[in-house]
Amino acid sequence: MMNEPVEKRYMPEVSRKEIDELKTTMKAASQKVMAENIERMKKADPKRPEAMKYFDEISNLFGKRQEEIAAEKAKGKKVIGYMCLFAPTELILAADAIPVRVNSGWYDTSKLGDRVVPVEVCPVIRSTIGAKMIELSPFMEQSDALISVLTCDGMTKLGEILSDYKTIWGMNVPRIKDSTQSLRFWNDEIKQMKNQIETFTGNKITRNKLKEAIELSHRATKAFRRLQELRKGSPVIMGRDAMLVNQTFLWDDKLRWTQKTEALCDELEKRAQRKDWVCSPDTPRVMITGTPMFWPDNWKLPTLVEESNPQGIIVADEQCSGERILNDPVGVDEWSMDDMLNAIGERYLMASTCPCFTSKDGNEDRINWLLNKVKDWKVQGVVYYVVRGCMLYAMEYTRVKKALDKINVPVYYLDTEYTREDVGQMKTRVEAFLEMLTARVDM
């Protein structure tokens, strides 16, 4: 099970020399991008919270966190990677294993993915394939198995392609939520996954262990929600900072992340009391929705929005790389094993606003999430972010636009690629959009 298959079904042969060379260059380039992103975030808020230092450090994909995981692995711990948010991380934690999300946010590696799949394929997928090809992602390399959830077409085939290297556990997600058999089916998938994880790690997921893991998740969600609550008022944190905090949860130690986020919130609450805003309270409030934006290269859009002239401030998002990670708690009634597993199943399926879902009312949950966010976070404009080849998000745009038109909130469809070449064109559009929002405020 641990051995790589002898014959690769998808991946081309790449020489060790080429792997090493490409990895060295791309790693160096990525370190530069991460450092630059953080530099710009620091510059955007001269009084940036002390607590952000921790998240800056943990955001280094080649830094402290991967060293910690390596040390844990050396002591016999298993690492279980995943590509979609549907992977039930509580089960992984309860089996004393480490969950990490392994999607690639590197533009450079998407070109390598082109050796395996055509350019029409979503760049998140191409880039993740490319990163695996040259062993760029420490978390991917450290993963002993990957959970591949069959959501969009790209994710479905990505798992298959990565099976050339890794043990893959597929999870079949029903695309219609509101039928009784869907939840039953999905809950069976969850139970199956529990058995798989137990066998693989050799650790039994006991009632107590699972309760502990769920409680840890609860605490993390509470800390996250406290941070989001702070973003409802006049801005006390740049959107990019909050987004980085959100995203580091995907690979950080869950308890430590929670404590650091709590410390950040303490600082921000004091800042709110002092009315010490990060930018003028009149700054147009922007929400981002659409394709996930993985660190570090995809900080392109948030950086443009918050450094634009006129400036915008990101106060919310509806992305599986952002708020969706922690928005919903696992709702347990009785702490019996069965009840906990069903609650996990329900949380991962029913609370998801992934565009892979449809129903007699369409993907109503996503529309409701967006409308509620707009109302509660006083969002003045929405950027609908789509990378080329991201079909489901692209297709749902028209519906989202109609829903937002009804409440008179402008939305801009911004399409891009895994490339830095289009920053100039993107800037033109983002600036025009913010100019429009500013003009509406003045009207």
């Binding site: 002239n309 402008p410 289009d422 033109t428 025009a432 509406r440």
Partner: protein, 261 residues
């Protein structure tokens, strides 16, 4: 009060001098490798034509893809914002402005004050912009300015499905191999372009008062195709390529007025 608007486009820099709310003069220069210098030239030409000096100008506003490189600029305005201002100034009833330039096409929806309320930009592809016509004129060995007249002579349309300049060019080559006549191929080129632009306009919601501006608005072949695709007659100002600069000059005027108060 004198204000100047500069539009630093991908091919040309245009300048408009506005005196007490009316256009006093225009100037332009090729962008080449130094848009800053080109803008200086365009402004100099325009001021000279109006008999004015740099020091007479209360406010300079810049727009266009190279607006950050503009000389003298007191401020900038987005290309879409400038389009909206100019469109409503030129045609007070206009609520949709379509701007087709060398490398980019956009459609802007605005209110009666010329404030944009929505916009769409062609999706990072030159097939809906002037560069496409240029490439196709080359493929047909026709002068760019003659392509439009040629298209008007076409008796029928041969559809091509241009998703980008490169594919468009190979589509045109297959039409040549099929021995289609030049007028028909020319019309196919404009139709393909107008198709892309009209779907952009439809995404914003059609509105009977559409203004067409930008360098391509001077091309009779394109105008004919766009009118047919949209099922209406678009309004075109006398100097469509100066719309961006005009919008910037109007923005400059309202900002200068705001500063005086």
């Amino acid at each position: 009060m004198i204000t100047v608007g500069m539009d630093l486009g991908t091919q040309r820099v245009k300048a408009v001098v506005l005196k007490d709310g009316a256009v006093a003069s225009r100037g332009q220069a090729l962008s080449s490798f130094d848009p800053t210098k080109a803008a200086e030239q365009a402004v100099e030409e325009a001021l000279k034509a109006a008999g004015l000096k740099l020091s007479d100008v209360s406010y300079f506003a810049a727009t266009g893809s190279a607006m950050d490189m503009a000389p003298y600029a007191n401020g900038t305005v987005s290309m879409m914002g400038a389009d909206a201002k100019a469109g409503v100034y030129l045609f007070p009833k206009a609520r949709t402005i379509v701007d087709v330039g060398a490398e980019e096409a956009r459609a802007v929806k605005c209110n009666e004050k010329g404030i944009m309320v929505d916009f769409v930009v062609n999706e990072r592809c030159a097939a809906g912009a002037g560069a496409f016509i240029e490439a196709m004129a080359r493929a047909l060995e026709v002068k760019l300015e003659d392509l439009g007249q040629l298209a008007l002579k076409a008796e029928r349309a041969s559809p091509i499905n241009a998703s980008c300049v490169i594919f468009g060019e190979s589509d045109v080559v297959s039409l040549i191999h099929r021995q289609e006549s030049k007028p028909e191929i020319a019309r196919a080129v404009f139709d393909a372009m107008a198709d892309r632009i009209s779907s952009m306009v439809h995404r914003l919601g059609v509105n009977p008062d559409v203004v067409l501006v930008g360098g391509v608005a001077k091309d009779v072949g394109f105008i004919d195709s766009l009118n047919r695709k949209l099922g209406l007659t678009v309004s075109i100002p006398q100097y469509p390529d100066y719309a961006g600069a005009l919008g910037a000059a109007l923005t400059a005027a309202s900002r200068a007025k705001g500063a005086q108060k």
